[in-house]
């Protein structure tokens, strides 16, 4: 019963708020008539068409409310009838279209007028604009069948107009509004049964290329709206492929693609022969042909579409890579000659040997076909294209096709490898990524690997890292291949020492994928000798570590391998297992017992005991309410400790454990600060404990910001709780200040501010209030009217009691939550050599960091430099400095400029990463602020920043400038 009553209270409560909002909209209504009236006056005043046009242009800049749209439209129409100047009429027509798009306005009242004025209009431009307006109206009233058919009628009537603009718009109208079911209203009105497709199809052969394009686009629009296109469209579209105009060809290619996806299995005849093939194959051939079109726009279009044609027969697909139908020699090659396959290319000049282009074998000249019909060599052409846009599109298409067809993947490998040498870096990068994506389907041959590895010397870091990623998931066929890869990677390491981590990681995967291939290489790699002891290698050598990483990862699945290790290898293993545990796996070594391995990974999450433990400890906390303060504190402390430890042990639960622990810590701080005995002390003795309380308040605030912004996956219901906690902290702050400051004036302002905050909270989370039963805010809102009226001292008193009485809200846990984290890889902070530079000038410091689970890092992540004198500097990295190597992961590679006045000796500066936040951005935009007037700065401004990486110290030394 009590609950029921409570509910009613809430219902009433929400009602009140809604009324408030209505009042807000009512306010606007007062200003409404003035706008249309002003327009009317302006238009009447206008002496010349130019003036009228000016007024209209000015008018168009301001938004119009839904209620006054109709009035404005009437005025505009009235003026329209009187106006002789077509440009003014044009503007009015366009305004009508704009106005009819206004949200909340139903344009069916102006449709008659619009159609009416359309009938009497002579100017083609105005006609076109009016049709555009009708289109806007029609799209708005998409459900009204009668209006749709009526508009289609109008469009059909104007299709015969002599101006291309009008025909364009008519076709657009047909495409957007043409009825989709053609057999529904056949008997009702004979005219509505028009076959829109047929009408549009007739305009495929219009004399104006723009109209042809519009017709194809309209057809595509129909398809997008869900109408099944007839197969006859295919033949019409094929004819348009040889159109003189590129936009027509480009649209036609799209249309062909659409039809080929609709009717992939239909059979079409091949002209000039009796054979028949599947439609999708035919379309594929035709689109392939367009890859060598004269216009690059069409080429890009065609190359892109090729990628999504997965139903194509495999022999058609493979033809795309085969340029040389003339030579049979290629197919005859044996595995031995395969390595040479890249260089030799049949009887044509490969440019390797003098005279190798002399025909080796007479070919029947009659059998040679120079313009191959169909797919032949499409990709060969596309990948060699002049424009890099086409090349990228071709690589992407290759990637998509290869993912769906393993045999094709094998075949396209040579071509992809060739693309690694493209002149444009983007293309190279794209092809490396593509290769990585299809790497499950392929095994690299040695000569291909050789070419791939040659790129490791590329000076671009992106390319090298992409290549490392590629090597991580590549299958190598021979042990020589592994050896080659290792040698090249080590070469890379010496040339670019900064690639260390990436190379180690790469070798880790290379080792674990190819244990059997690594096995025979072990003695050579470790340079062990059957009789002699060899010198112990240097443990700090990154190259040696790289070799060990490869071997240890291979040894994981190859139990015979440890037998080949020498003594120092075992020692090094133990060392590396500790220092680089993410790279070196646990090994079952002879004579040693296995280091306690982690929980076996095959337990599903819900059975996971640690998950259960987490749940239990959180549930335990819910009983907090009933405990005495001392007990509550202890319980919280224990739980926080448990959660933290759990987070350390179980990385997948780290986010959730940390999140809850932070929340509990806030609660703990709050409880501590409110401890009764402290507050009963007389005023002068407050100083010490108020220190504690205000520190607690401050810390709670910080923690709540962390909770809100450092975790990805936080949902609205958590945000409410977090804000609620923050509100409590603010209340605490207010109480502490009230106690410590003398005089009422400053307090007055603070009270006001606090009450505003409460109001703000209420506005933002109105929907979530019911779940905050019994909480601080709940009580506060009940007493709101009283608080508003009372004096600051009273307010403080009320707050204090309420804070103490308020219940502990428990935090619902989100499904997926991850804590944002960052690690600075570079600068490493190990160097003893200070970075010297002349004071007053700048020095560039390379910063390289990985970010995990950061949403929108481009706008939030900042770099902070702390100088020893306490000076802090915040640097905003460029958006281009962020790379996105994987889901939820980001990489920041940037340069930070340091400068300072001269120092006497080198000193350390701290570099760290900050996560900037702005709590206002989360709040939905208030509806009563008129659109467009919100300054964009509000959104980008930074309210505060949370450090989220370990600081790194950099040793620097600004020298005084020499005179």
């Amino acid at each position: 019963m009590a609950a029921h009553l409570k509910k009613r209270v809430y219902e009433e409560f929400t009602k009140v708020v809604q009324q408030q909002e209505e009042i807000a909209t009512k306010k606007l209504r007062l200003t409404k008539p003035s706008k249309s009236a002003a327009l009317h006056v302006d238009l009447c005043k206008a002496a010349s068409p130019a003036d009228a046009l000016q007024y209209l242009l000015q008018f168009a800049r301001k938004p119009v409310e839904a209620e006054s749209v109709e009035g404005v439209v009437r005025i505009l129409l009235e003026h329209y009838y009187k106006e002789n100047d077509p440009s003014v009429r044009l503007k009015i027509a366009s305004l009508l279209g704009l106005l009819s798009k206004t949200a909340g306005f139903s344009p069916d009242c102006i449709i008659d007028d619009a159609i009416n004025i359309l009938q009497n209009e002579k100017s083609h431009q105005v006609l076109a604009q009016l049709l555009d307006t009708l289109l806007a109206i029609g799209t708005k009233l998409a459900e009204n069948q009668a209006i749709q058919t009526r508009l289609v009628e109008v469009a059909c009537k104007h299709l015969t107009d002599t101006s291309h603009g009008v025909r364009n718009k008519c076709l657009q109208l047909l495409g957007n509004l043409g009825s989709l079911e053609k057999n529904v209203t056949k008997d009702a009105e004979g005219l509505t049964a028009r076959d829109v497709q047929k009408i549009i199809g007739d305009y495929f052969s219009d004399q104006d290329p723009r109209v042809r394009t519009a017709a194809i686009k309209a057809m595509l629009q129909l398809h997008e709206r869900g109408l099944k296109l007839h197969q006859t469209v295919y033949n019409q579209a094929c004819k348009l492929l040889s159109d003189d105009y590129e936009q027509v060809r480009s649209a036609a290619v799209q249309l062909i693609w659409v039809v080929s996806q609709l009717y992939p299995e239909s059979i079409v005849p091949i002209p000039s022969s009796n054979e028949e093939i599947r439609l999708v194959d035919d379309a594929f051939g035709k689109i392939c042909h367009m890859v060598s079109d004269g216009s690059w726009v069409v080429r890009v279009q065609a190359a892109k579409l090729l990628g999504s044609m997965e139903q194509v027969s495999s022999h058609f697909l493979e033809q795309t890579l085969d340029k040389k139908l003339m030579s049979d020699l290629r197919r005859k090659r044996t595995a031995h000659e395969r390595a040479k396959e890249l260089y030799s290319s049949g009887e044509f000049s490969s440019g390797r040997k003098w005279g190798d282009d002399a025909p080796k074998e007479e070919i029947d000249t009659g059998a040679v076909n120079l313009i191959q019909s169909g797919a032949c060599g499409a990709f060969v052409h596309g990948l060699e294209d002049e424009m890099y846009e086409v090349r990228i599109a071709a690589v992407e298409a290759l990637c998509m096709l290869a993912q769906s067809s393993p045999s094709f993947a094998e075949k396209c490998l040579d071509f992809l490898v060739d693309m690694f040498n493209d002149e444009i870096e983007e293309v190279r990068l794209q092809s490396i990524h593509t290769m990585r994506k299809i790497s499950n389907n392929i095994t690299l041959r040695e000569d291909q690997l050789d070419t791939v590895l040659a790129v490791l010397e590329d000076s671009s870091r992106d390319i090298r890292e992409a290549l490392h990623e590629l090597l991580c998931c590549t299958n190598v066929s021979t042990k020589e291949g592994i050896h080659l890869a290792l040698v090249e990677l080590l070469k890379n390491l010496t040339k670019y020492p900064t690639d260390k981590d990436s190379i180690w990681k790469c070798l880790k995967f290379l080792g674990s994928r190819h244990p059997t291939l690594v096995l025979p290489l072990v003695p050579e790699l470790l340079s062990t000798h059957p009789f002699f002891d060899t010198a112990e290698p240097d443990m700090d050598d990154p190259a040696y570590i790289a070799v060990l990483v490869l071997i240890f990862n291979a040894a994981k699945t190859c139990p015979t391998m440890p037998a080949l290790f020498s003594d120092h290898t075992f020692r090094h293993y133990a060392y590396l297992r500790d220092s680089l545990s993410h790279l070196v796996p646990a090994l079952r070594l002879p004579g040693r017992k296995l280091v306690s391995s982690a929980v076996s990974p095959n337990i599903t999450p819900h059975e996971d005991p640690s998950q259960q433990f987490l749940q239990q400890s959180l549930e335990r906390v819910y009983s907090l309410q009933h405990l005495d303060p001392q007990g509550a504190q202890e319980l919280l402390e224990f739980t926080i400790r448990d959660l933290q430890r759990l987070g350390e042990l179980q990385s997948e639960l780290a986010g959730i454990a940390d999140f809850s622990a932070t929340y509990l810590r806030c609660q703990l701080l709050l409880i501590k600060a409110l401890q009764e005995k402290l507050w009963n002390v007389a005023a002068p003795l407050y100083l010490k404990q108020s220190d504690l309380a205000s520190a607690a308040a401050k810390q709670i605030m910080e923690e709540t910001y962390k909770m809100e912004f450092m975790y990805s996956g936080v949902e609205n219901k958590q945000v409410v709780i977090i804000h609620h906690m923050r509100l409590q902290a603010k209340a605490l702050q207010l109480i502490v200040t009230a106690r410590t400051t003398r005089g009422v004036d400053p307090l007055f302002g603070m009270c006001e501010k606090f009450l505003q905050e409460v109001d703000f909270f209420q506005r933002c989370f109105i929907a979530d209030l019911p779940q905050l039963q019994d909480s601080f805010v709940d009580k506060l809102l009940d007493l709101m009217p009283r608080l508003m009226a009372s004096k600051p001292a009273e307010v403080v008193k009320i707050l204090q009691t309420m804070l103490r009485q308020s219940a502990f809200l428990h935090l619902p846990l989100p499904e997926q939550i991850h804590k944002a984290s960052a690690t600075i890889i570079e600068p490493a902070g190990e160097s003893d050599n200070p970075l010297r530079f002349t004071s007053g000038l700048v020095v560039a410091l390379d910063v390289d960091a990985t970010l995990e689970h950061v949403q929108d890092p481009q706008s939030t992540v900042k770099v902070q430099i702390l100088y020893p004198d306490g000076q802090a500097q915040m640097i905003h990295p460029k958006p281009a400095d962020f790379r996105n190597p994987g889901l939820g992961r980001h990489r920041l590679i940037t340069q930070v400029y340091l400068s300072h006045t001269a120092w006497t000796e080198p000193c350390q500066v701290e570099v760290r990463l900050l996560l900037a936040y702005n709590s206002n951005a989360r709040i939905p935009k208030s509806s009563w602020i008129e659109g467009g007037e919100v300054s964009p700065q509000v959104e980008t401004s930074i309210e505060g920043a949370i450090p989220f990486s370990k600081p790194v110290k950099v040793y620097i030394m600004p020298k005084p400038a020499r005179r």
Partner: protein, 594 residues
């Protein structure tokens, strides 16, 4: 009968001394004016006496067009203009105009100074000749005179190479010069719009070749050079000064940049430096990559490639040297070759004897040079292959094709292919042989807008490409043609309108009443011919034998207007004769369909 005549003076079934005469609609144009590498006598230049025995050539030629700066396309130009005598305009693109005199001067030096030839053109002649040059931009339509116009298209091949469209009225010829359909490291691919010329004159150097992807070649080249350099060897790359040399330079330069290599690259000095200067200037003629990045850095401002000094050849350590000439028969490349040939670490790229496997060479002074260095041959040719040629023909859609600049046997193959696959007639004349192509030039006729609009309003079907019939009068007045409406024609000619009447007699045996009969016939006709305005026939009694006419079969073409007028006259006769008048009001097409 109008026709286009083409006579190759050079490059007909041959490579070298390109020179093709084209006469089109009374205009004579000479395409290219090259020399032949293979001859040192009179045959090295085209036989200009074919054009005229005596008298200046200016009277016989309207213009000369040079496609690009290679000597086999422009080598005979000073001889032709200064020694034979030609004062008309010579058209070429800006880069060609800039680089051409450098090559001509070099050619002159070798011929006169080295070989000691007399009666050769002088430096002054080159200068005078270049003064007659008119430079053109890409896609700029240049009016040579009132009727003749030319337009240049991008051709790849070398810097400034262009294809030219020559157009008189509606007749046009496209000459490709040398072109390349695949882009390379410094130039883009040839491109032409669908200009549908009457004749396309195309080179056919690689008529029987389909080349492999250039990427393999490039990668191969880079890998070899890189390996040799890493081993500490020296690389000698003999090149011709212009064209391919720049491509290879760019290739190596970008590779060095990418791979962070520090090994020096040298380029033998001399004419290359001047030419490189022009390459830096004509950025708009290069490929996408260079055009896009030149704001940051002009790719032709090499960072790693420096000028070569003779003394550098003895420097220890690895290096790469580009040296001229490309055939390794003389000059710097030979000198360097001699120095380096003994070391197996080194690598060189050309040399015919060595390529054929010879390892011991006899030099001047009976020294025997043992070649221990590795020798590789790499072809970086910038001509279109068979597929490329077909692609270009497909792009331009000509009525017929003419092949030049290739070997007869290979041309034969390509010709057969073109005729078979594109169904376009194809010619391959030898030098001095004339090909005559009949053309049917279209004659422009002016039409009054009023008439056009009226006719447009009648037929509403959007069939743009089908011919349509329309009524009008063609007026031919001092060599211009106009199509006007008949009323206006009558007015202009001061003639009165004539009216013709068509009648037709049908003999019907029927016993019903005349009026009733007439109505029945009327309704029948109305049903049969709904588009015709049919009048209710009045009956008339006509004596004499029946004359039957076929419906609308022979309507006289001169008829202007046929007014429907009822026929009159009554006679009493047992047989009933009906006279029907039907009036064709739509179009001729409809009436004749009856």
């Amino acid at each position: 009968m109008p026709e286009i005549r083409v006579t190759p003076l050079g490059a007909g079934q041959d490579v070298g001394r390109s020179c093709i005469l084209v006469s089109i609609a009374g205009k004579n144009v000479m395409l290219d004016c090259g020399m032949h590498m293979g001859f040192n006598d009179d045959r090295r230049f085209p036989d200009f006496s074919y054009i005229t025995q005596n008298g200046r050539l200016t009277d016989f030629l309207d213009c000369v067009i040079i496609s690009h700066f290679h000597l086999d396309h422009c080598g005979a130009l000073p001889y032709f203009s200064e020694m034979v005598g030609y004062d008309g305009p010579i058209y070429m693109t800006h880069p060609t105009q800039a680089i051409c005199p450098i090559l001509l001067e070099d050619y002159r030096k070798i011929a006169v100074d080295k070989k000691g030839e007399a009666n050769f053109f002088t430096s002054q002649m080159i200068k005078d000749c270049m003064k007659k040059v008119v430079a053109v931009h890409l896609h700029q339509t240049v009016q040579v005179d009132d009727e003749l116009e030319i337009k240049a298209y991008y051709a790849g091949h070398v810097l400034g190479a262009a294809m030219f469209q020559i157009k008189v009225g509606s007749e046009s010829v496209v000459y490709t010069g040398d072109y390349n359909m695949t882009p390379d490291r410094h130039l883009g691919a040839a491109w032409i719009d669908k200009c549908r010329p009457n004749l396309l004159i195309t080179e056919s150097t690689y008529a029987t070749t389909i080349r492999d992807s250039k990427r393999c070649r490039e990668r191969d080249f880079l890998k070899k050079v890189h390996e040799t350099v890493e081993r500490g060897g020296k690389v000698l790359i003999p090149v011709f000064a212009l064209g391919r040399a720049q491509e290879l330079c760019i290739l190596l330069e970008t590779f060095w940049e990418r791979m962070n290599l520090k090994v020096p690259i040298y380029f033998s000095t001399g004419l290359t430096e001047k030419a490189n200067h022009y390459y830096k200037l004509f950025i708009t003629w290069t490929n996408q990559k260079i055009r896009k990045t030149f704001v940051q850095r002009n790719m032709f401002e090499f960072k790693h490639i420096k000028a070569f000094d003779r003394a550098f050849a003895d420097n220890p350590g690895p290096m790469v040297v580009f040296a001229t000439p490309g055939m390794l028969h003389a000059g710097q490349s030979l000198q360097i070759f001699r120095k380096w040939a003994g070391n197996e670490k080194n690598m060189g790229t050309v040399g015919h004897k060595i390529l054929s496997g010879q390892r011991k060479l006899e030099m001047e002074g009976r020294q025997v040079l043992e070649v221990k260095m590795q020798v590789e041959y790499m072809s970086f040719s910038a001509h279109a292959d068979a597929k490329g040629i077909m692609q270009l023909v497909g792009q331009a859609e000509p009525e017929s094709v003419l092949l030049v600049h290739g070997e007869a046997k290979k041309m034969g193959f390509l010709r057969q292919k073109i005729e078979q696959e594109l169904r376009v007639s194809c010619y391959m004349p030898a030098n001095g042989e004339t090909v005559t192509l009949p053309t049917s030039p279209s004659i422009p006729v002016g039409i009054s807008l009023g008439l056009l609009k009226r006719e447009m309003a009648q037929g509403l079907l959007p069939e743009a490409k089908k011919p349509r019939l329309l009524h009008g009068t063609l007026i031919m007045k001092d060599s211009n043609f106009r199509l006007v409406s008949s009323e206006q024609a009558l007015k202009e000619l001061g003639l009165a309108e004539h009216q013709l009447r068509f009648t037709c007699r049908v003999h019907l045996q029927d016993t019903r009443k005349e009026q009733e009969m007439a109505l029945r016939v009327y309704s029948h006709l109305k049903r049969l011919l709904p588009t015709l305005r049919t009048q209710v026939p009045r009956c008339c009694w006509c004596p004499g034998p029946t004359r039957m006419r076929n419906w609308g079969a022979s309507l006289p073409h001169c008829s202007r207007r046929v007014s429907p007028r009822p026929l009159s006259g009554h006679t009493t006769h047992p047989g009933l004769w009906l006279c029907l008048a039907t009036v064709p009001t739509r179009t001729w097409a409809l009436t004749s369909a009856l």
